[in-house]
Amino acid sequence: MSDADKIMGFIPKDQYVKYTYYLLLASSIGAAVLTLLGLIGIHIPLMQLFGLAGIAGLILALIGFFIFKEEFSALDQSHLLYICIIIAVFFLAGLILGQAFALVTYLMLLVSLLVFVAQLIMVWTGYNSWSHGRSITKSNVKSEVQQALKRG
């Protein structure tokens, strides 16, 4: 096989789309399996590796479609474009999901903080009430909280 039959001097032209698909298949199957394992509490630190395979696949698709477009048949060009679209769509979906996930985590931390603050106020109220020789009942809890916060 001559160099003219190779893209970038080392990838056989007729195998270029196949290798691009293999990289993306490895990346997407690996990411799906790792996520499923994460769901049952098993965390394997290989996500970066699969991410790298995905990026390599994207780069091959972009280079193939934009730089070596003339080297490929209409069929290959169509598949390189299909790959670019799939990656763009799922990158966007991942970005949106990641943001939503981060937002939920942040909101939960905020709710936890509010609960802990409420707990601290109620304990402080109890201590303040006890140190003044009073008891806390349903009827006086509001005024006890107010007095404790004033003292604080």
Partner: protein, 155 residues
């Protein structure tokens, strides 16, 4: 106060300081909870210290229960009311934290599930593209459904 064991609860805690200590343990536990929640928001999670706070809270609950049961006669009616208040606070916030924790765990699991579904969809579409390319066909808006079916059937 004389140093006789009669003035001490459980042989070590001075009777007049008993409620004070019980509240102090709970206050440190609750204040620590607020502090660690703030740290959590900026991404710092001191897990082992959190267990220490839980231990302090449990110690406080233990002291309140002992004060209400075994040594009930040693304390005034006001002290009894405060022991009950401490136990009630502990139970209420324990339940709130359990419910909140469960909600968070469900949200976390759902996030993973959606990620896994999106990952699976991506894998199916990549496989569809590869299968279509192997068959010498093009994936278009019009035939993508049939291509997915053909790819899954080939599986």
């Amino acid at each position: 106060m004389s140093d006789t064991s009669g003035d001490k609860i459980l042989g070590i805690v001075p009777k007049e300081k008993y409620v004070h200590f019980t509240y102090m343990f709970l206050l440190v536990s609750a204040a620590g909870g607020v502090f660690f929640s703030l740290l959590g928001i900026v991404g710092i999670e001191p897990v082992s210290a959190t267990y220490g706070l839980i231990a302090l809270g449990l110690l406080s609950l233990g002291l309140a229960v002992v004060g209400l049961t075994k040594h009930k006669a040693d304390f005034s009616v006001t002290d009894h009311a405060h022991f009950k208040y401490i136990a009630l606070l502990f139970i209420v916030f324990f339940v709130i934290n359990i419910v909140g924790g469960a909600f968070y765990a469900i949200a976390y699991a759902l996030g993973y599930l959606v990620t896994a579904i999106i990952g699976a969809a991506q894998a199916v579409l990549v496989w569809t593209g590869y299968n279509s390319w192997q068959g010498g066909r093009v994936v278009t808006k019009g035939n993508i459904r049939d291509e997915v079916k053909a790819a899954l059937a080939k599986r």
